[in-house]
Assembly symmetry: C2
């Protein structure tokens, strides 16, 4: 472990928990106990037994989100299990509170079986106003989310998919303005066809982008490729109208946009140089992007974004998930539709009044972000 990592680990050890609970009522005198605990609580319990839908008005369900992971795809670290996942989920709970005053609790699961995950999340749902799925591997994340969205009466969102997709679309709206191209006519390559790549592709299609080529480890995804699972076969139908076959070099020629949700250093200067003029690069692999911004710029890219806070244009889900759930909780919205996501992306994009190559997306510290996204949810 390097010195910097040692310092970080020492900080986590000193800190212990990063979130805690807090009482919202006083427990000072006997009367407080008899109102908020027994016997008073029996009145609320009897009432909710008869009117379960009122639970969201008189309990933690009003303002709470479970941040759920099985630890099967944590950051860039892979399948590291529930204990490895916990610091990330706790960090998200921290951001939920800091950004949107939402009471989120991390729930990391000691199972990676999709049916079990669905059963468990359904079983714990009564205490929560929403479910943020996180760091669950593709392709099982798609079915898990779909079933939970269908079967629960509270909002469920897999943030690796949709949080990422919304910020990417927001960034792309402004990047297109910077390079003076029509967003719908952009040729886009997406490197990585996991949770994020899939959701980005689907949202860009929904937003009107017509020419998207996705790549997984084996190359471009096209209708008829023999080894595609059902999710990738569906993507093949939605994308790749030019039926591009081959590897990244084949896909990159003459395209306008590269969106990387894959791995470090994967994009070479020659790839960038082969793109159309005024190209756009979103190299979001974390912590090491597909190409370093300076290398992309030297190879000719006009607008460059990464997932990192130490470069300009940080594409980060934290811009989105607090506002999405704030809006959903406040307005009783149960499904986060593609239309909602597009509205959220537009709202985010609009916060940058005059986009430039160095500024296509609002800053994580911009206090307007959460509310702008929340307003888009209805």
């Amino acid at each position: 472990m390097d010195t910097k990592s040692k310092k970080i680990l020492a900080a986590f050890k000193r800190q212990g928990a990063r979130i805690e609970t807090r009482a919202r009522v006083k427990l000072a005198v006997k009367k407080d106990f008899s109102l908020w605990y027994t016997p008073g609580v029996a009145v609320a319990s009897s009432y909710l037994a008869k009117h379960p839908k009122e639970t969201r008005n008189l309990s933690v369900k009003k303002n709470s989100v479970a941040v759920v992971s099985d630890g099967s795809a944590v950051l860039g670290l892979g399948n590291i299990g529930p204990y490895g996942a916990l610091p990330v989920m706790e960090g998200k709970a921290l951001i939920f509170k800091g950004k949107a005053n939402i009471d989120a609790w991390p729930l990391v699961l000691d199972t990676q079986d999709p049916d079990e995950i669905v059963r468990i999340v359904k079983a714990i749902a009564p205490s929560f106003g929403g479910i943020n799925l996180e760091d669950i591997a593709a392709p099982k994340c798609f079915d898990i989310e779909k079933r939970l969205v269908e079967e629960l009466d509270i909002p469920v969102m897999h943030d690796d998919q949709h949080g990422t997709a919304i910020v990417v679309l927001a960034g792309l709206i402004n990047a297109a303005k910077v390079v003076k191209k029509d967003m719908k006519k952009l040729r886009v390559v997406i490197s990585g066809a996991g949770a994020a790549g899939t959701a980005v592709a689907k949202l860009l299609v929904a937003a009107g982008v017509k020419d998207i080529v996705l790549l997984d480890r084996l190359g471009t995804i096209y209708a008829g490729r023999a080894d595609l699972n059902s999710h990738k076969a569906e993507l093949a139908k939605l994308t790749n109208p030019r039926k591009v076959k081959g590897d990244l070099a084949d896909a990159m020629r003459d395209v306008d946009v590269f969106i990387g949700v894959s791995g470090r250093g994967l994009l070479k200067a020659a790839h960038v140089a082969s793109m159309a003029p005024r190209s756009i690069i979103f190299a979001m692999a974390n912590p090491e992007p597909e190409i370093l911004p300076e290398d992309a710029r030297r190879a000719g890219a006009a607008v460059i974004a990464t997932g990192r806070s130490d470069f300009p244009n940080q594409i980060n889900n934290s811009l989105v998930f607090p506002g999405i759930f704030r809006g959903a909780l406040d307005k009783g919205v149960k499904k986060i539709t593609q239309e909602t996501k597009i509205r959220a992306a537009r709202a985010l994009a609009t916060l940058v009044v005059r986009p430039t190559a160095a500024k296509i997306i609002p800053d994580m510290l911009d206090p307007r972000v959460m509310k702008a996204v929340a307003r888009a949810v209805h």
Copy 2:
């Protein structure tokens, strides 16, 4: 609904949630995000993936308890399901924080299947430092708790059983002093053989009480009674050495102690009058006790306790569960043994220096209680 209940309900509606989360670190500048969220959090995640046992030192696991119920036996309200149970679990979470600074989160489950409950609690355990089971019906509560205690490496306690048993034992230690009888020689009747009655009986046996007669709805429990389930058959072996058969009237004759965890108004003046001199009555049915204190006194009882805050000697689990989990979390104690419970009861009893008929148990507001119980856990 009566006027008082309407007022209570209105207070719950105005209040919404009674607990919330709170950040324990600052999220003000970019550096805060990069330490406590990405990329810093990856260091903690990688570390815990390799050293999962360290999770309790650098995450919410350090100080958190899940308050879990399936809503199958809520207060005296019966099987009212997860939504009905939530106000009680949230109330317990509030008391965990107020009394012991423990971060507890209510998890009410949308299933009442024992195997499912065990699977779910095991699956969510990685995020928590302890599991407080609550308001789960007997007899399934016994197996659920037993399996979780065996299979998890964090403390698990069904509070309806053991919280109640500890306070009862504490009260009995002091009540015996007040009436100048040897506790171990007391003849005890326990009305109710559910979660609480069973645990009280077992703990009193462990503490040396030899003559206990339990009753369920069909009368006294004795070895060989035809209809006993396995839990009650086990109780029959541990108790009723005089092989008393019959109903409450038969059981009450010449005994020293009545412990009621059953139903309102069940104990009559004639029952009390038939007891041995200087009798002790713990009438803990909630909110209406088995007998009102004034009626018990008029019938000759010397020491009277109830579950209510508006009478003297309130036998309430809140005296126990915060300290039990505080001690267990602080000292890494994984099993709450009978020895621990007896120590906790003695510690509670000792806080009343000179017990009297009006004061056998510390007050819920007594600030020494939590720490005294916590010290007993080791």
